[in-house]
Every structure is written in structure tokens, then in C-alpha cells.
């Protein structure tokens, strides 16, 4: 018995047919294109949204609101209250942001809001009405530093801190 097995007949190598490898290459290209399309979509969406959202949050974040300073002028000492929220409600109700224990002030009397880079004030249908620099408030009005707001029998001086730069 021979030690070494006799040589093999030439065994066909498992070769890929020309025709067959084409399908693989074609689909590989399509697969890469699909991935590229997916990421093109994501790139488009993220880039636009990123810019958009950055602008918007800058507008709306806490830090960009200039603080509202309200000083009651009738009290014994001029006590300044500082607000940094975008909304301040003034009224007799103890739940209000600025609560004043005065009979002539309604439970929810007036609202200060910060919008479009300005502080606004509006009357919340109070019984005795609100007066800005002596004029009765009928609609929303823009506030400027030094304005005087009268609610019932109480008068407040309104000031704003300068807007912080971002």
C-alpha cells in the first residue's frame, strides 16, 4: 500500500461565475446607496433642526429674560420683589406670585408676561381695574422701566434689569 494517496484529478475550484458576482456587486452598491440615502436624510433633518432649535431655545431660556422688579409704593418700606419667571401673577390670593393682602385687590388681579423680548401687563378682569400710569388697562400693554401700575388702591413701580447678554 502506497504511503501517499495518488494525486487527485483536477478538482474544479469553487469559482464565482461572472454573471453571479454581478448580482452581488449590484446589490452591494444599492445597499451602500440605501445607507447613504438614510444618512443624507438624517443630515438634512439634523442640520436644519439644530439651527432652528438653537435659535428658539436661546430666545426662550431662563437667562434671557430680564428680571422684573416690582416695588410697592404704599408700604412703610420700599421692598423690591424680583421675578425671573416668564409669567408673574399679582393678586390677593396667597398662591399668586406676588400676593398682596389688600381688600381692593382682586384674587387674581393682573398678569405680567415676557414675550417677544418685552414685558407685558394685562388686567385679569379685576373688580377695581388696573391703571398703568393713570390710564385704565383694557388690553395688553408693553411695560417700560419706571412705569407705575395701580391695582385697587395700591400702586407699584415697575422696573426691569438690563437683559443679560448670552
Amino acid at each position: 500500500m502506497a504511503e501517499n494517496p495518488p494525486p487527485l484529478a483536477v478538482h474544479p475550484l469553487p469559482n464565482l461565475q461572472y454573471n453571479a458576482s454581478m448580482s452581488g456587486i449590484l446589490v452591494l452598491i444599492l445597499r451602500i446607496l440605501f445607507t447613504l440615502a438614510l444618512y443624507a436624510f438624517l443630515y438634512w433633518a439634523f442640520s436644519v433642526i439644530w439651527r432652528d432649535l438653537r435659535g428658539r431655545t436661546q430666545e426662550l431660556t431662563h437667562e434671557s429674560i430680564p428680571a422684573l422688579l416690582i416695588t410697592p409704593l404704599d408700604g412703610p418700606a420700599e421692598e423690591v420683589t424680583r421675578f425671573q419667571t416668564s409669567e408673574v401673577i399679582l393678586g390677593r390670593d396667597p398662591l399668586c406670585h406676588l400676593s398682596v393682602p389688600d381688600e381692593t385687590v382682586s384674587a387674581r388681579h393682573a398678569r405680567f408676561t415676557y414675550q417677544q423680548n418685552q414685558w407685558w401687563v394685562e388686567d385679569l378682569n379685576s373688580t377695581n381695574g388696573s391703571y398703568l400710569n393713570g390710564e385704565r388697562l383694557t388690553a395688553r400693554a408693553v411695560l417700560v422701566p419706571g412705569d407705575e401700575l395701580r391695582c385697587g388702591q395700591l400702586t407699584f413701580r415697575i422696573e426691569m434689569e438690563p437683559k443679560k447678554s448670552n
Binding site: L8, V27, A37, S86
Partner: protein
């Protein structure tokens, strides 16, 4: 929108062409059916796009493209997995989009929704409650969470989630203008939410219950800005999970399979492990749609669609999918920030939270970031209720994002928004990181797992290498065309050596141990494997492996062994190449599917390869070894007068009468017990142990077959008992054959080998490694002299035969071989029969040696 259409069209195109790639030819049946879904998808979304553009000039520009891409991608994937589900999903998609258009056209719906918020939520709860009474499971046995009849089913828990969001938004919109206190806010909403969650828990719909709790927590957090709500809710969820572990089996199961899925990968954590293997199979670029095997994961079309997408589009695809959901969440929060009424603000934030939590829950479950909860992946998974609800939610978002001249409401709790957005983005980032972990870092380990069943698919698509005998005669081959390939054993009597590879029964024998070469994953150049995996998602064609077997001798052995139980091993005493290995009864692997159970229950155990796994007591066959040992020592005894020996009241006899003239040698030749006992007197137990160890009786042969665990040296307690085969030492025919080879081969025992070489494409024939020989008898001359004294008269061979009874069975052994001075190939043979038949054993042995000694025919 254009890019989204392009992406979906591309993936449809890939799916159409995928059969050509799988089968490596263009003459195939292409897949066309999903183009119906594609057409439906295109028409519906362009319609929605046109209508919305006309109606509101500046609605949110991202929502439609985003959801169209998600649902289109999902649709193609569902078609790929199951075409009938694809049609249904197309139908549901149309319903969803029509509802979306209607909702955004008639905003009066919202006033309505808002006004009767309690009514709606109660209806939702009642419908969910109704499933207790009338619930069904559309696909057979399972959790009964669906309502409906006549082929139309819906899952009330899906709209319930959206109704809860609407309710919370409406409630908060009423309360927020007044300065609220937390308890006031919590009381009514908590009752509604808790009742919804409780109902879902009772239904074992844990995913939905978690989701509802999550939506509630985050919405209230956005409204109040109290961080402790998040902490309390997180703690509550943890406590609930702990309590649930103790009470509900379902929860315990989910938690356990999450913490350690590897403990029970076949039953309880089958889904998770298969899902991870699927993700790993995708690697970076994926197999391409239609080219992977995501169908191996149970319910791939709904719960595990993320795993299916990961397999077929790779890490690149799953990262894209995660990014799409992150984008959607981001968008919802953006719409919420820009909203002009509180209702719209909480509505859009709530919907964003709903999408985000649901996507994180189910993708996290698929990727083992979180315990598995059975929720759908919004827009992508199969499921009518989920799809329609999601599109209604998109309709609401579109309404909330309508352009308005009024400035957005000031934000009460800007920090809460930052927190929520950051939390969700962190969640998505964690998903992305773990997807990379499984698909890149752990991919090789996962794919190498035995429960990676992709080989079953490759078996049909990739030609497996042939198994050849030493003269290139095919023993096992692959027949048929790509796509319907079949493995055939051309010489069935070799069944329990060659084994099988079968999708139902797994792998065995040489088909299992040589699987790497035969399947093409081993032996091929790495670049070729890489290219084949990249282009076809298949390994390259398998390589042929040449075995040392000689089919002509094998036929002789199998012919003589027919209808007998036992085994034959004939090997080249110098190289260890096994020329013949027969084990009877055998089984035919080609008939495995039909006769598996019959063979499994057959007391003759045809699945056992007796040559390597059958352990037999040595009877009185070790005589030639003791003889050679004592010759070397120069202390051979004198033959006693009585050749029989009484052990334990049992008369042990020679296998047949010895030849004349009677001598120690001729007594050994027929296994006379007295001769062995006499020889054992000169061998101490320790020496006997040493001899048996050198002969290889206490070590497993290094061979690519399952071998029986060898006996231990300490089982040999007395040299006398060992000599007559009454010790606990048992030996397989293969071990006996290699021991016999030591006598033929001048005292040195070769390591047996079956697989000789692999036919590789570039390096030609590569010889496979084998073990090194062991020297049993140091003195070559004394051993060859001893063996020559044992030689028969008729043939130039030595031989020994022995038959002894053990309990109810008698075992007959035969060993033999060529003489040391023989010029041709040195041979050694071992035969065992499970019957008292020294005559047959001797005939088989002599015939085999005679045939083998004849010059080889070319």
C-alpha cells in the same frame, strides 16, 4: 421627502434582487409583491404631502418625511418577512394616513376631544376592560389583548395610550393658568392613570403599563418641574418590578432573562439571544434586505423588527433608525415649545414622550439594554392598532404645529424641558452604544454560538465540501441547486462515523468536527470569506476534505459485519491513518428525518459509534502486550498445564483450542486465561498501570470524533484481574487498535487520524495536523522479536483472539497486524463482537489484512 422616497425605493429594489444574490445567478424568480406596498406608500404620502401643503403653508416640515421613512422602511421589512402581513400593513397604513388627513382638516375634533376628555378616556378604559371578557389573540394561543372578529382585530391598549395623553393635556390646560399645587394636580390624573395601568398589568400587558406610567411621569414633570416626581416614579417602577418578580411569573421571567440570558438560551431567553445573534449577524453594513435570516428570531415582524432591521441593514441601519426616533422626539418637543396654547403644548410633548418611551422600551428590549416588554416599534412594527394610533398622533402634531402669528406661550418650566430632552437623548445614545457593542465588539463571539442557526440556511444555499476517501472516491457530497441543496452520504454504512448535518437534528460525527472546512468558513483565505460575506452574506463555497478511509476495505469490513453487533478499526500502524472504521448496527443519515425516533429508541443503539464510543472489558486480549513487555524484561514464565482458570466461581477458557505445538505463544494467540494469569505474576500493579497508560488505555485518542471518556488508572487495582479483563478498565476498539499498532510498529504507537487534508483554492492540498506518536516499548529489537514469535503460520501476520462472558453478553476480541519486518504498509487491526464468535472475528481480521496487503489498485 424626496430622500425618504429614494431610501424606501432603494430598499425595495434590493429586496427584489435579493434572490439573485442568494442563488448567485440572474435566472431566478425575483420578488415583486412588495412593490404593491411601495406604490400604496408612495401614493398615500404624496397625497398627504400635497393636501397638507395646500392647507397649511408652514406646518412642521419634518414630521411627514420622518414618519414616511419610518413606515416605508417598516413596510418593506414586513413584506420581506411575510408577504401576507405586508398587504395587511399596507391596508392599515392607508387607514392611518386617511385619518391623519381628516384630523388635520377638521380641527374641531380637538375641541371635542378636549371637552369630553373624561368620556374618551373612560371609553378607552372600557374597551380595554372588555378584552377581559371578549379578548382574543389573532394568531392562535397567546395573551388575549385584542378585540374584534372576522379577520379584523384591534388592540384597545394602543389608542388608550394616546387617549391618556389627550386627557392629561386637556386637564393640565385647564389647571395651569391658575397657579397649581401638586396634590391638586395629582389627585384626579393619578386615579385615571393608575386605573389604566392596573388594568394593563392585570392583562399582563406589562409594556403598555410601563409606557403609561412613563408618559404620566414625564408629562407631570414637564408641567410641574419637580424633579422629585421623576425620582419617585423611578423608585416606584423599581419597587413594582421587584414586587412583580415575587408575584408574577411573567415579570420574573423577563427580569431573569434580561439579567442573564445566557443561562437558558434554548427556552426562556431564546428570543433575546436570537435577537442579539441577529444583530451581530448584521455587523456594520448589514446583509442587505432579503439576504439575512431574521426569520430565525420569533415574531420578527412586530416585537423584534428592530433586530430584523439591524441584521439586514447593519449597525449603520440601526443607528439611522435610532437617530430617526431621536429626531422625531426632538421635533415633538420643538413643537411643544413653540405651541400657542397649553393644550397643544402638553399634547405635543405627551405624544413625543409616548413615541420616545415606546421606541426606547422595545429597541432596548431587542438589544438587551432593558428587560423585554412586548410593545411595538411605532410606525415600523407590524400591527394595525399601533400604526393607526401613531398616525392619528402625527395628525395631532401637525395641527399643533400649524403656523400662527401669535407668539408662543412663555414656558413655565424651561428646565424640565431641558431635562426631559436630555434624558431621552441619553436613552437613544445608550441604544446606539449597545447596538455597536453587539454588532461589532461581541459579533464574533455571538456568531460562534452553537445556537446561531444560520448554518441551516447556508446549508441550502452554499455548496458544502465533499468528503473523499484516500483514492478520491466521494463518501459524502452535496446535490441539487443553490436554494435547494441537499447533503447526501453516498456510502451509508459509515453513518455513525461521518454523521450528519441536519436542520432538525443538528450536526454529528465528522460533518460536525470538520464543519469549518466543509462550510467554507475555515481554510479559505480570510479575504475570500470577507468578500463573500460582504457581497452575498454567505460563506464561500465549502472545501473538500480527504479522509484516510479506504472505501474498498471499508466495504469488505461492512459486508462481513452485517447483522452482527460490534466494531472494526484498521489503521496504518506507522502514520495512524484509519483505513477502515466500522460500527454495527449503523444508521443511514439520509433517512434521518423519517427514522430518527426509531433509531433513538432502538436498544441496539445505532447512533453510538462503537469504534470510538463503545467501551468493552479487555477480556484476555492483552496477552500480546504482556508478552512483549515481559520479553523486554527477559522474565517470560512457563506455560501451566491447565489452560483454564477459575475466577469467582466462573470457569474462564481459551477462545478456541490452541494450535499445536502448545506453547506460551500459541496459548496467548487464543487468549487462554491461565497464560495471562501466569504472566501477570511477574508484573506488579504499578507496572501494569504504567503499561496500560503507555498503551493509551487511560487517555482519549486525539481524533475528530466523539470518544468515550477513558477509564482511570486507579480503576486498575490488581495486575492479575487486569490481565484476565476482570478489572474495571474498559477500552474502545480504537484504543485497542492503536495499542496493537505499537506491536507492529516496533514499539511506537501512532496517533490515529481520519481527516488527512483539505483542498484549498490557493494553497492546494493542505495536510491537517495530527498528534505525535508515543513510545510504548523502548527496546525495538526485543519487541520485534517477541512479535515474530507470535506470528501465525498461514499469513505473515500476528494475531490474538479472546472471548469471555460478562453478565449476559460474551465479548469477542480480535487484534492483529503485520509483522515488523513486513516491507509494505504496516497495519494493525482491532475487532470487537458482542457475541461469542471467535471464528467470525478471526475471519474478519484475516480477510481485512489479506485484502489490505494486496498491492493497491490504482
Amino acid at each position: 421627502m424626496g430622500i425618504s422616497a429614494l431610501a424606501v425605493t432603494l430598499s425595495s429594489l434590493i429586496l427584489t434582487l435579493s434572490p439573485a444574490v442568494r442563488l448567485h445567478t440572474f435566472q431566478v424568480g425575483y420578488r415583486w409583491l412588495h412593490w404593491i406596498g411601495w406604490a400604496g406608500w408612495l401614493v398615500l404620502f404624496s397625497l398627504a404631502y400635497r393636501l397638507l401643503n395646500r392647507q397649511f403653508e408652514e406646518h412642521d416640515p419634518y414630521l411627514l418625511p420622518l414618519t414616511s421613512l419610518l413606515s416605508g422602511w417598516g413596510l418593506v421589512t414586513i413584506y420581506r418577512l411575510d408577504e401576507s402581513l405586508g398587504y395587511r400593513q399596507t391596508l392599515w397604513l392607508s387607514v392611518g394616513i386617511i385619518l391623519l388627513i381628516l384630523i388635520s382638516r377638521y380641527p374641531r375634533v380637538f375641541i371635542w376631544l378636549r371637552r369630553y376628555k373624561y368620556l374618551w378616556l373612560t371609553i378607552g378604559l372600557l374597551l380595554t376592560g372588555l378584552t377581559f371578557l371578549l379578548g382574543t389573540y389573532p394568531a392562535g394561543e397567546g395573551p388575549r389583548l385584542w378585540l374584534g372578529c372576522c379577520g379584523l382585530y384591534f388592540q384597545p391598549s394602543e389608542p388608550l395610550k394616546l387617549l391618556l395623553v389627550v386627557y392629561l393635556a386637556a386637564y393640565l390646560a385647564e389647571r395651569i393658568p391658575f397657579h397649581f399645587r401638586l396634590p391638586e394636580l395629582l389627585a384626579p390624573t393619578l386615579i385615571m392613570t393608575a386605573s389604566a395601568a392596573l388594568m394593563l398589568v392585570l392583562q399582563r400587558d406589562l409594556g403598555a403599563a410601563t409606557l403609561i406610567l412613563g408618559i404620566y411621569t414625564f408629562v407631570i414633570f414637564l408641567a410641574s418641574g419637580r424633579r422629585r416626581i421623576l425620582i419617585i416614579s423611578g423608585l416606584f417602577l423599581l419597587a413594582a418590578a421587584l414586587a412583580g418578580t415575587l408575584v408574577f411569573d411573567v415579570i420574573r421571567l423577563r427580569i431573569e432573562t434580561w439579567l442573564n440570558p445566557w443561562a437558558d438560551p434554548v427556552n426562556r431567553s431564546f428570543q433575546v439571544v436570537q435577537s442579539l445573534i441577529s444583530v451581530a449577524a448584521g455587523r456594520l453594513l448589514g446583509t442587505g434586505i432579503g439576504l439575512g435570516s431574521p426569520g430565525l428570531v420569533p415574531v420578527a415582524h412586530s416585537d423584534f423588527i428592530a433586530a430584523a432591521i439591524a441584521e439586514e441593514t447593519g449597525l449603520a441601519g440601526i443607528l439611522g433608525l435610532i437617530a430617526l426616533f431621536a429626531l422625531l422626539t426632538y421635533r415633538c418637543i420643538g413643537i411643544s415649545l413653540a405651541a400657542r396654547t397649553t393644550f397643544q403644548r402638553f399634547l405635543s410633548a405627551g405624544i413625543g414622550i409616548y413615541f420616545a418611551i415606546q421606541a426606547i422600551l422595545i429597541m432596548g428590549g431587542n438589544l438587551r439594554l432593558l428587560p423585554l416588554t412586548g410593545v411595538t416599534l411605532p410606525f415600523v412594527s407590524y400591527g394595525g392598532s399601533s400604526l393607526v394610533t401613531s398616525f392619528i398622533a402625527v395628525g395631532m402634531l401637525l395641527w399643533a404645529s400649524q403656523p400662527h402669528t401669535q407668539p408662543p406661550l412663555p414656558i413655565q418650566q424651561p428646565r424640565a424641558y431641558t431635562w426631559v430632552t436630555a434624558l431621552f437623548l441619553a436613552g437613544f445614545a445608550a441604544l446606539a452604544a449597545i447596538a455597536g457593542w453587539w454588532s461589532i465588539v461581541r459579533a464574533d463571539n455571538l456568531l460562534a454560538r452553537p445556537d446561531n442557526n444560520r448554518w441551516m440556511v447556508n446549508l441550502r444555499f452554499v455548496p458544502r465540501g465533499d468528503l473523499l476517501d484516500r483514492r478520491s472516491e466521494r463518501i459524502a457530497t452535496t446535490t441539487g441547486e443553490r436554494g435547494s441543496l441537499d447533503r447526501v452520504l453516498l456510502y451509508p454504512p459509515l453513518g455513525n462515523t461521518i454523521g450528519y448535518i441536519n436542520p432538525r437534528f443538528g450536526k454529528a460525527g465528522l460533518e460536525a468536527s470538520l464543519d469549518g472546512y466543509l462550510s467554507g468558513l475555515q481554510g479559505n483565505p480570510a479575504s475570500r470569506i470577507w468578500l463573500a460575506e460582504l457581497m452575498y452574506s454567505q460563506p464561500p463555497d465549502g472545501l473538500d476534505v480527504r479522509l484516510s478511509l479506504d472505501l474498498e476495505l471499508q466495504r469488505v469490513a461492512d459486508g462481513l459485519m452485517e447483522n452482527h453487533r460490534g466494531a472494526v478499526v484498521l489503521l496504518n500502524a506507522r502514520s495512524g491513518e484509519i483505513l477502515t472504521i466500522a460500527s454495527h448496527p449503523s444508521y443511514d443519515p439520509n433517512q434521518l428525518d423519517d427514522r430518527y425516533l426509531e433509531w433513538l429508541n432502538n436498544p441496539a443503539a445505532p447512533f453510538v459509534n462503537r469504534a470510538t464510543q463503545g467501551q468493552y472489558p479487555t477480556a484476555t486480549i492483552v496477552g500480546p502486550f504482556l508478552y512483549a513487555y515481559l520479553s523486554e524484561k527477559g522474565s517470560l514464565p512457563v506455560l501451566p498445564l491447565n489452560l483454564s482458570y477459575i475466577h469467582d466461581n466462573q470457569m474462564l477458557t481459551c477462545a478456541r483450542p490452541p494450535r499445536t505445538p502448545l506453547s506460551l505463544e500459541t496459548a496467548i494467540e487464543v487468549g487462554c486465561p491461565a497464560a495471562l494469569v501466569e504472566m501477570s505474576r511477574s508484573i506488579s500493579t504499578a507496572q501494569m498501570r504504567e503499561l496500560f497508560t503507555a498503551l493509551g488505555f487511560f487517555s482519549a485518542p486525539e481524533i475528530r470524533l466523539d470518544v468515550a471518556p477513558p477509564s482511570q488508572a486507579d480503576q486498575l487495582t490488581s495486575s492479575r484481574l487486569a490481565s484476565i479483563g476482570k478489572s474495571a478498565v474498559k477500552v474502545t476498539p480504537l484504543q485497542m487498535a492503536q495499542a496493537a499498532a505499537a506491536l507492529t510498529n516496533n514499539g511506537s504507537r501512532p496517533s490515529p487520524r481520519l481527516a488527512v487534508s483539505v483542498e484549498t483554492p490557493h494553497q492546494g492540498r493542505v495536510i491537517l495536523p495530527s498528534g505525535s506518536p508515543v513510545v510504548v516499548f523502548g527496546n525495538e529489537q526485543s519487541v520485534s522479536a517477541a512479535v515474530n514469535r507470535l506470528a501465525s503460520q498461514d499469513f505473515p501476520i500476528w494475531q490474538a483472539v479472546s472471548a469471555q462472558q460478562y453478565d449476559s453478553t460474551t465479548y469477542t476480541w480480535f487484534i492483529g497486524g503485520t509483522l515488523p519486518q513486513w516491507g509494505g504498509t504496516p497495519l494493525a487491526v482491532a475487532i470487537v463482537l458482542e457475541e461469542n464468535n471467535p471464528q467470525l472475528a478471526q475471519t474478519i481480521g484475516e480477510t481485512l489484512l489479506q485484502n489490505a496487503l494486496q498491492p493497491l489498485k490504482p
